[in-house]
Amino acid sequence: MLLPAFSLIRREYLRWIRAPTWVISGLMSPILYLILFGQAFDLGKLLPPGVPPSVLSSALSGAPSYFSYFAVGMVAFASVTAAMFSGTGIIFDKQLGILQRILSTPISRRSVFLSSLVFRGTLTLIPAFLVVGFALLLAHVPDVAGLTVGGGITVVDALQFVVAALVLSVAFTALFLSFGFAAQRIESYFGVVTILQLPILLTSNAMYPTSIMPAWLQYVVGINPISLAVNVMRMSLFGTAGYTYAAWVYLLGLLAWACLFVLLALLLASRALRSGGGPGGGSLSRAIAE
């Protein structure tokens, strides 16, 4: 039965449409990175004059400029930043007793989790696409670097880009949702999220090419879900030259991360939603009873 899950999605949608502030807070960092960091930190300017553009382009896996290379990374970063807010709703629902009321209805526990994942995962895509639009727009502003893409982008390329963004969104939405289900208080939730945010970003190839990193870091960066998504997205826009594997290999790796995070979230959610029993469920049911 889809109606119960749809009702929960509708509730989240109505709440969101009336107070979409988190889109702004989620967009803030990526936009600042685009208009400040991305403009200032132009690696291409470090090359001595006379070096052909192809040298830079090959170092940046086919991207026409550093900013274009960087902007795609920020698309992924925008998704992850937006996903960081995914788990907050469930904590407030727990604290306000709304979750308990939902659990007293016949809706299945899995629907509670899946409706959150679907809605939040979809929302997370919005900032990602806004960043794409914003970066493309910057290219038309004089004296400002912007995202430029080659002419040969096919429908398949565009689709590949969207799928990568979607899987990345789902993966991180599930991860942060699982924190939300596990955490009892908003402070502990944001504690964990804040600790994770920078390491996740800095161990990816969102901001700089893997080739300039030390070998040990390259291994970590290679399996970072952000890197995997960014690889696929860059291949869609700038071509596949310079990559070790085909796009579907990276996509498969990303999918594996998404599955892992969804499973983790399912586990933590069902533990938190189970009445009585284990530690997670026990504390919730104790909270219900007191």
């Binding site: 039965m1 749809f6 009873a289």
Partner: protein, 355 residues
Amino acid sequence: MVDLVETGETPARPREVVVDARDLRMVYPPSKAGTKGTVAVDGVSFQVHGGEIFGFLGPNGAGKTTTISMLTTLLTPTSGRATIEGIDVSARPHDVRRKLGLVFQKSTADEELTGRENMLIEAGLYGLAGPDVSAHATELLTQMDLASSADRLVKTYSGGMRRRLELAVGMVHKPRLIFLDEPTLGLDPQGRAGFWRYIRSLRDSKGLTVFLTTHYLDEADQLCDRIAVIDHGKVIAIGTPDELKDSLGGDTLELTVAPGSPDPTPLLQAMPGVSSVTKVRDTYRVKCSNGESLVPRSVLGATQAGINVVGVTVTKPTLDEVFLHLTGHSYREEGVPNGPSSGSGGDGAPAPGGA
């Protein structure tokens, strides 16, 4: 003369058992290894009949909310058995959830949504949608006097409006049984009396069975058809408010005579309805079933016997006295544990309603 509900009145039709609890126990797992778990509910048994307002009366931490949580499938009982309309709550929780409505202590409506949206989303959680459901939601909102504010955000509602909305939301899937956990907590006396009216109107118009918990003695007395008194996780008495009060031996008439007057005890004991007479200085305390009618009779009789009566009072028994009688401690001395193992869920939490 105060006209109370007729004692022991039961309708002639056979009473359907809607809630049947048998020896329910809930022991919360210990928070630290090696310590004993907390016994919140310690073997309660009772039945709730169709169409009645059944009250679970007890101080904070007595185990009321834990009992509701078990009956509404939010908690699995440690032992014992409960059925709702014949369906076992542990074996078929999913089916039980369809049968009942539940109103929590705290307001659980979504503040950012309107009253009507809250209703329709709740209906959706039960798999209900469409014009019939909308019409029923409107009808309930109207019955709760929320029609004019149905499309306002809940965050603009007053405390009383929120409680009424909770009641309406709990009724959206047309349950025949509703659980209300401390329904009037935090309302002022006027708001509480008003809320009782809404509960009664739902019961009367829809034949609803109401199970409510309360720690207000007057609420149990005036709203409930039957009461179970619970303390430290155990049901210590069940009956109509009047039955419980009558169990104390009825009214108390206190006759004060002038010093040096003859002893009226033999005279009083001979009067109909009198069960005992005890003397405290110049005051004679008469336990009787009919306090008011004994006033003229005792004064007249004593005067005729040459006894100078200087004062007379009649006290009706209160549930507070019932509670004192049953537990040995006064109602407001909340959370006084009898022993180390009898502490219950909310003990030591002075805030009303617990955490």
